[in-house]
Symmetry: C2
Subunit: 210 residues, 2 copies
């Protein structure tokens, strides 16, 4: 058992590695943005989460990195109000991780990491052409969290693009059919096997598998 | 391609199913709490995310469900300031999903869904005995998000419990070694294969596998 003091006393990189593993397997997406000069930016983020379905809202956390690529992303979102989230498939994982390097503002991670940008429906934010699930968002809420000065960014879903054959009749997406990876910590990308789904849960019985 | 209007026009359950799939594979944890009478509560949550490593902070979104189990969870967190997050392994998945049923306040999901509660280090929140990764948190920030009235809850990590053999020398946890599942949408629980890890990314080269 580690208590708070023992956690604080861990060497900085070990502590970051440990704490980033605590949510378990997690979302990993590429955030696409553009600045006012038209320069594109792409950044891997593993803190994307569901905020609401009606209206459709997604949130993410962005660190206040003084020189990191993430500041370019935040600056671009704040100035254009638009950004894209692009799901990461197995063949994209190594290139997606490369976007976490500290590229200069005049370098585009699309070019440097081998992704082709594409546009959807005239929205300004660039999408990742080979991502099987592309989500266009408009900024709805931005705040500096008092607790540690990180940025909370929430956007509304304005465009959605995916292949017809991964959309099931009940509305769910076949994430394994898209070959999406699950994130682990700061540097892990895991292939995911077929899963089990359970019926809407009721108090009296264990939910049946569907 | 679906635009915002097409998304809004989807039937309510189909829309919720679709939008909940957008983050891709995601974190799934059981939140353990206790009320002022000592009655325990357990609730599956799939919106847990990393907020910071120093201090160690985790966030989650809780819906304003008028009669749902999640309100019990939120009430308990606000009144006791303590809660636990318990990672979900493959053998726990069906029982974890069962906790999403609308149990009465006087029913404990620990009893009803087949989980044994345990305590750690004298903290009031109950932990799930058979979870391979138990996290004790103290409430640090709670706010109603203006954008849609959901609750953002951020806590500091006060206790951590896991087996020694899943903690690597570099600080990361072996999530597959713990047999953790990845969540999909509202009802999917996927087994995860061994992953790839990539070195700290630098601009000039594609990150090597480690």
């Amino acid at each position: 058992m580690l208590n708070r003091l023992a956690i604080e006393q861990l060497e900085k990189r070990r502590r970051a590695a440990l704490i980033n593993c605590l949510p378990g397997f997690k979302s990993v997406v590429l955030v696409g943005t553009v600045d006012s000069q038209g320069d594109t930016n792409l950044c891997v983020v593993n803190s994307c989460f569901h905020v609401g379905a009606s209206p459709a809202l997604l949130g993410m956390i962005i660190r206040p990195a003084p020189e990191g690529t993430e500041r370019h992303t935040l600056d671009n979102i704040l100035s254009t109000q638009h950004y894209s989230l692009n799901a990461v498939s197995s063949t994209m994982a190594q290139r997606a991780h490369h976007t976490s390097a500290r590229f200069r503002r005049d370098q585009s991670e699309f070019d440097e990491c081998g992704f082709e940008p594409t546009t959807i429906d005239g929205t300004p934010a660039p999408f990742v052409s080979d991502s099987p699930l592309k989500i266009g968002l408009r900024l709805q809420e931005h705040q500096l969290l008092a607790v540690n000065g990180t940025h909370l960014v929430i956007g509304s879903v304005e465009q959605l693009s995916f292949a017809n054959n991964v959309w099931r009749d009940d509305g769910t997406l076949d994430l394994t059919g898209m070959d999406l990876v699950a994130g682990a910590g700061l540097d892990g990308y895991h292939d995911v096997g077929s899963g089990r789904r359970f019926a809407y849960a009721k108090p009296d019985n264990a939910p049946r598998e569907i």
